[in-house]
Amino acid sequence: MRWLWATVGALLLLSLLVGAAGFGVPDGLILWQIRLPRTLLAALVGAGLGVSGAVLQGALRNPLADPGLLGIGGCAALGAVVAFYWGMEAVFAPALPIGALAGAGMGCAVLMAFSGRALSGPSLILAGVALSALASALIALALTLAPNPFALAEITFWLMGGLEDRTLLHLALAAPVIVAGCAVLLRLGVRLDALSLGEATAATLGVPVAQTLRLAAVGVALAVGGGAAVAGGIGFVGLVVPHLLRPVFGERPGGLLWPSLAGGAAILVAADVLARLGPLVLPLQQEPRLGVLTALMGAPFLVAIARRVGP
């Protein structure tokens, strides 16, 4: 565990030293206004995605579970699209993350309503899939009706995820939400361990199964919704991180929460550093999108895992 935190620390430091101008210690204003918010946001968003993935895989006893499964990211995107749609973002800059946060919050409420009172793993997954489909449909609707001809390009760009030009304001908006979500999720360890024996057995061990799933969904909504509000759509981190860590930390779900938090932070900070290095070392006009990079990095990992799983 210590080496993992050391890796996170080293990556944070590296992230502060890399920018559009190249390597080196930047002047105070750049460090404080540009590099620091961006670095901390990458770490926070990644931590939220990592721990969300670990909790969902544990709660649903499914190694394929991903925070995107619950549709919260889609709802955040919908909120952002609505902010774009009415041009609110042009008038009032924080309208975008605030709209996305509101979308994530509404998504969470709808998810709870969809999944009903007798919550179980399958009902949560089905409710999430329904919510995802609804959010995608409404985003598509908003895009086709968008009055602003540039909206389509801007929204598409935002949906690919990224952390450039984020400010301390973005950090102030997202950090409390993500931290609250992680705090909820990190407390579920023992319950997730018990759930690995199935929902019935967990109930006989005194674990309130429906309440645990509800807390997991709310925690994921906060941790992922807060992240999506400032970073857009970033996939694969929540799915891949627990898989990377299981061979090292064992498969007990509760034992993976803190490592996945740190691992998610490390991976997203590393991906963001790579995004900034892109134009420096390659003939690129601009940074590759962060969501594109995490998917590019995540897919080979998944292929490797798939080959190892076997029949």
């Binding site: 690995s196 024996l197 006989t204």
Partner: protein, 227 residues
């Protein structure tokens, strides 16, 4: 110690238990026998407080479901330690005792998905024992065990009952129930047909399982035949 009175239950609109009354005391090893669909599992789930309206009593009753398995490749010790969840601790001594009682202490650090099915079943039993509950409810604890392992597990359960525990187990192998259980309950179609000392309810059990009575007699352990 544990029981239900005039207990009915429905699954998906079909009534599977019709006013069943059942109670088990400390020191009893009750084998519940009967054909598939008799309502054995539903009765056990009702005793465990898992049916609608029921309430689990985690420290008092430990339950191992049919075909119990762990979703992740946790170690045998980690699985057994889950038995301490109702107590909110990780009492290593209680876990060690449970692992030793089930004969899986040597496997404590092996992954439960990398040991044999019989060993994994005993690890699940160790998880239930680690709770140190008064009542053990086990759904087919010896299914898919080889004969020797099945005898070992049944002997272990009989020993627990002798030391004052209360064990209620669904058992399909009538010969094992005859040899080890102190009491046999025969169920069919959601009702209890017979309940008593295994030898005495044997005929009912035999007819339920479709065996000729004479054949069932031969299943009696030799000591019982001479008495």
């Amino acid at each position: 110690m544990i029981g239900v009175a005039d207990f009915s239950a429905s699954l998906g609109g079909r009534q599977v238990l019709h006013g069943v009354s059942f109670a088990a005391e400390a020191g009893a090893f009750v084998a519940i026998c009967g054909p598939n669909g008799a309502g054995k599992t539903t009765l056990l789930r009702g005793l465990a407080g898992l049916l609608p309206g029921g309430r689990a009593t985690p420290r008092r009753v430990a339950y191992v479901e049919q075909g119990a398995r762990c979703a992740w490749g946790m170690t045998v010790r980690q699985v057994a330690t889950l038995g301490r969840v109702p107590h909110g601790d990780r009492d290593g001594a209680a876990v060690d005792r449970a692992l030793a009682a089930c004969g899986v202490a040597a496997l404590a650090d092996r992954r439960i998905d990398r040991i044999s099915g019989g060993q994994a079943r005993r690890a699940m039993l160790a998880r239930a024992l680690a709770t140190e509950a008064e009542v053990l409810l086990l759904d087919e604890p010896v299914a898919d065990l080889d004969p020797r392992a099945a005898h070992e597990v049944m002997a272990l359960l009989a020993g627990l009952a002798l030391r004052g525990g209360c064990v209620v187990a669904v058992v399909h192998q009538v010969e094992l129930a005859l040899r080890y259980a102190s009491r046999m309950v025969v169920m069919a179609e959601g009702r209890i047909l017979a309940d008593g000392v295994p030898r005495e309810v044997l005929d009912v059990a035999a007819s339920c399982f479709g065996m000729a009575v004479g054949l069932a007699e031969r299943l009696l352990p030799p000591t019982d035949l001479t008495s």
